[in-house]
């Protein structure tokens, strides 16, 4: 299993070299951006790239011909994603700190929460969609989310005062804890769904 996780690092060696300038770019030019968003990008960078490499039929044939079970192949992705998220966020915080880009622990926690939610929806898609369509769907999905979510939230805050009242009445700790619980539950559910899909996948 550890070998499968390490594999994602080996296959994208060159892209990982680009990771540092990628974050530096945001540290310099992204001053209007939320640090949480930068952390989210940093955390999804390696796992998402790994998926893009492995969406090809051929890599699935290779991995499944090696002494691995399908269960291990999926689990390695989900466990590896957490490891690479921590690594990505760690490196990004060092870079942001060095470039005097102000951020708080809160930004990191929000990014982690969003990472779990985003991954929970994106990962199973890689097992469902035909190779070659993933990139388009993910980019389209991100644009859609960025475009639709903020106005939706605005609408919710304006009209559903009961919900917002309820949310503001909660203590920050409760809010964070429930947020964490929801995102982790989503991630675990997604893991199970991916297992089910991958067991039946035909190469």
């Amino acid at each position: 299993m550890f070998n499968l996780i390490k594999k994602d690092f080996v296959i994208q060696k060159t892209q990982i070299l680009l990771f540092i300038p990628f974050i530096i770019f945001f540290a310099i030019f992204g001053d209007h951006m939320s640090p949480a968003f930068i952390f989210l990008l940093a955390s999804t960078y390696i796992p998402l790239n790994g998926y893009i490499y492995d969406e090809q039929v051929e890599s699935n044939i290779l991995l499944n011909s090696l002494p691995y079970t399908r269960k291990e192949i999926v689990s390695a992705k989900y466990i590896g994603a957490i490891a690479y998220m921590i690594l990505g966020i760690g490196v990004a915080s060092v870079i942001l700190y060095l470039f005097n880009f102000g951020f708080m622990i809160r930004d990191i926690t929000i990014a982690m929460g969003l990472f779990f939610v985003f991954s929970a929806f994106a990962f199973p898609l890689f097992y469902v969609l035909k190779p070659g369509y993933i990139g388009v769907v993910v980019i389209f999905g991100m644009i859609l989310l960025a475009g639709v979510l903020p106005p939706l939230f605005r609408l919710l805050t304006e009209h559903l005062t009961t919900i917002t009242d309820f949310l503001t009445s909660l203590s920050t700790t409760t809010l964070y804890l429930s947020g964490a619980a929801i995102s982790i539950i989503l991630y675990l559910t997604s893991w199970m769904v991916s297992q089910l899909i991958y067991q039946r996948k035909v190469f």
Partner: protein, 292 residues
């Protein structure tokens, strides 16, 4: 421990697809031998090989490798299998050094020194991206991987297709050498019958999703024969022993799948010669179409 005779066994395996199906496949791959798997494009060779590798699961029937099933022994079985696929399965932007980092640790029996020995022997570049490799180099790469983890059973999908004749000879020599210690078993698909005549011990012939025969080359060559003789020898009783026949007003030439019977019936009246595998396969195909 009981010696396992059949490395791979398919018992009544069925696999259905929308536009194609494998029906009632029974096949055995004998230990220590080379089995050639022949059939036209689309006959079901790749599907059978995918079933053998557990890339596909049968709808019904049973598949055993080394006498065990995939459901409970998947990792253990794959440790012992080497594979050569028709298309490149290695990450194309990586070089052999990086590929080794991915594949090596997957196997318990992996030996780095063996790997580097084979890379040297096969004259493969360590630092060039896989995407620059020719078909022959890719094949050698797969073989080097299989040999570095001491695969006992090597499955190859169309290893000779698209290779130049010189390299094809070289490959067949490598395979022969691999078989020398008698511990390995090879199963390879091809549509080039001369490859089979050169190295295979057994032939499995598949057509439209059905196995037509699965026998040793020697048995096949004994059973089939090319028969030539005078046209007036032909009558209804004789004709039924022929799977194909061409006749002119004076002479006939036919292929039989029951050489023994024909010899006892016609004896010296006809000339009997060894039929080539190509003839056998071509006419078996015709015969099955005729009687289905």
């Amino acid at each position: 421990m009981r010696k396992i005779e059949n490395i791979v066994e398919f018992n009544n395996v069925n696999k259905y697809f929308k536009d194609f199906s494998l029906e009632n496949i029974n096949l055995q791959v004998k230990q220590g031998q080379i089995t050639g798997f022949v059939g036209a494009n689309g006959a079901g060779k790749s599907t059978t090989m995918k079933l053998m590798m557990n890339l596909l699961q049968p709808d019904t029937g049973e598949i055993k490798v080394f006498g065990k099933d995939y459901a409970n022994h998947e990792k253990e079985l794959k440790e012992r299998i080497g594979f050569v696929y028709d298309s490149n399965v290695f990450y194309e932007s990586l070089n052999l050094k990086d590929i080794r980092k991915i594949i090596g640790p997957a196997y318990k029996n992996w030996s780095d020194s063996k790997f580097y020995d084979y890379i040297k022997k096969f004259e493969l570049p360590l630092n060039k991206a896989i995407k620059t490799f020719s078909k022959g180099m890719l094949m050698k790469t797969s073989l080097a991987m299989a040999l570095s983890h001491e695969a006992e059973f090597i499955m190859m999908d169309e290893p000779t297709a698209g290779l130049d004749p010189v390299f094809r000879r070289e490959l067949l020599d490598i395979l022969k050498e691999m078989m020398e210690d008698g511990r390995r078993t090879i199963f390879f698909s091809t549509h080039i019958t001369s490859d089979l005549e050169r190295i295979a011990d057994n032939i499995t012939f598949i057509q439209s999703g059905k196995i037509l025969f699965n026998e040793s080359i020697r048995d096949i060559q004994e059973r089939y024969a090319l028969v030539k003789g005078n046209a007036n020898l032909i009558n209804h009783d004789i004709e039924k022993y022929f799977i194909s026949m061409e006749r002119s007003s004076t002479e006939f030439q036919a292929i039989t799948n029951n050489a023994e019977e024909v010899r006892s019936l016609l004896g010296d009246q006809v000339v009997m010669e060894e039929a080539s595998l190509e003839d056998i396969m071509f006419y078996t195909k015709g015969a099955s179409r005729q009687y289905v």
